[in-house]
Amino acid sequence: MDKRINKMVPLIFDLKTVSYGGYFILLALVVTMILHFVLMGGAATKYISLQTMVFIISVVGILVWIITPYLEIVNPESKELILSLPIDGLRYGFLRMLRMFAVYTSPVLLLLYFIYSISNGDKLAYGMVDVFLIAGALFFVSGLGMTAFLLSRNLIIGYGIPILWVAISFFYRGGASWLWHTCQWICPKPFESSLKYAVSHWITGMVLYIISAFIIKQRKYLMG
């Protein structure tokens, strides 16, 4: 038998596959920035509101960036070909998802840091634990979206479940979210340690990434 080894899909390929949807999110972030500075110029809470909006938009953005490159394995027109190729769960799934997460999350964290640094008194905390929590929240949300998408083989469910989760976390301030209060950073539960939530998000996110990589190997299931 041949001893050919799979490599990672080139990053440039993934950046192109993200398509308009992925870059529209970045545009949405810019528009949010402009609107806050122009419309809420004199508001005392404009920086808090801006940081909150950036985080909420980023949640949708991470889903677009993680799920879109994998649409081909559930799309009826393409899945048969892709699944017949010698793809593996580690490189095609886990590492590639991790790379997309890193590529997307880094500028979001930088953007939040920028807002924090230009703000005066009205701002959300942005220490090491907060960065760890924000990145962990996005990691958890992306893992949840990817797992829901692959298990259901349905894009709407892939987006719907994590967005619903974040909405519950946001509006109920962590009620019914247990250790996965994704919005602890912006709607914190008083007297709770953010680190605890950050660790829960990272661990669960990792488990969900591993589950997603495992499902990608299940060709018979994905063929439906």
């Binding site: 050919r4 899909v9 799309n75 009826p76 393409s78």
Partner: protein
């Protein structure tokens, strides 16, 4: 190179998609002919490792591929019936990505892609987005990706569906050229696709497969069942309702020369004629 299939069966709920299929294929193009829903795609998907059979054995060059499917994938080039992936990237990038997924090294990929694009006549479209290609071009891209990595076994499922006659003829030419030193399995319900192109064929219907050593063997199945009759145009409707009409021609006296399929001689003046491949196929399908 040889592909050997023994006792392959697959059921979906209470429908048997493949019923104890035996098939032996060696180098060259092998046609798998059958009506829609006969089980062709199921067989292809099993061979591509996309679905598992209920029972049976598949060997390629003596190696059990059901046990080593992950390694065997490197030897397969597969063009499924539906091919529409990566529409937002260019033809070259699409091939490059599939090459990566097939585990081909960067230098080898570059070399192969350039050569294959020439072979499938897509060099001028290399920078075009996949989504902007015509149906025929997309099929050619499909065969190009199947050829990447120089696989020993290529499968093409309904490759000419939706192509115009010119594209269809060109496509048969591609298949012919790539068939040397490898096994090509071509599944179709269009007899023309395999008649002048394949080195061997098998018929499939209701999950059962019959292999034929030659096209003559298939034609011979209909011997004594195909008849030529000359009828007036006013009488045509009478035989049309009684027999299966295979073809009709108008002769110089404005009478109709009709070929009909019948187990018994349909009329006194009917003459038994040498059947064609299509007529052999119809005989087997209707048996």
């Amino acid at each position: 190179m040889r592909l050997k299939i023994e006792g392959l069966s697959k059921s979906y709920k209470d429908k048997k998609a493949l019923d104890s299929v035996d098939l032996f294929i060696s180098n060259g193009i092998y046609g798998l002919l059958g009506p829609n829903g006969a089980g062709k795609t199921t067989l292809m998907r099993i061979l591509a490792g996309l679905i598992a059979p209920d029972e049976g054995k598949i060997e390629f060059d003596g190696e059990d591929i059901l046990k080593n499917i992950d390694q065997f994938r490197y030897k397969i080039g597969y063009l499924p019936q539906e091919f529409g992936c990566y529409k937002s990237i260019s033809v070259k990038e699409c091939l490059d990505t599939i090459g990566v997924l097939k585990g081909i090294s960067a230098s080898e990929r570059k070399k192969q892609i350039e050569q294959i694009l020439i072979e499938v006549n897509l060099s001028n479209e290399a920078k075009k987005k996949v989504g902007a290609l015509s149906g025929g071009m997309r099929r050619r891209l499909g065969i190009a990706q199947a050829m990447l990595g120089n696989p020993a076994f290529i499968m093409v499922d309904e490759p000419t569906a939706g192509l115009d006659p010119e594209e269809r003829i060109r496509f048969r030419g591609f298949i012919r050229r790539i068939a040397s030193n490898r096994v090509v399995l071509l599944s179709t319900h269009i007899i023309e696709d395999i008649k002048n192109n394949c080195d061997g064929l098998a018929l499939i219907n209701n999950g059962k497969v019959k292999q034929f050593d030659s096209f003559e063997d298939l034609e011979n199945m209909a011997i004594g069942k195909v008849w030529k009759m000359v009828v007036g145009s006013n009488d045509f409707y009478k035989i049309d309702s009684k027999y299966k009409i295979l073809s009709t021609n108008t002769n110089t006296n404005n009478y109709l020369e009709v070929r009909v399929y019948s187990e018994v001689k349909p009329s006194e003046d009917a003459v038994a004629v040498q059947p064609t491949v299509e007529e052999g196929y119809l005989t087997w399908i209707n048996a």
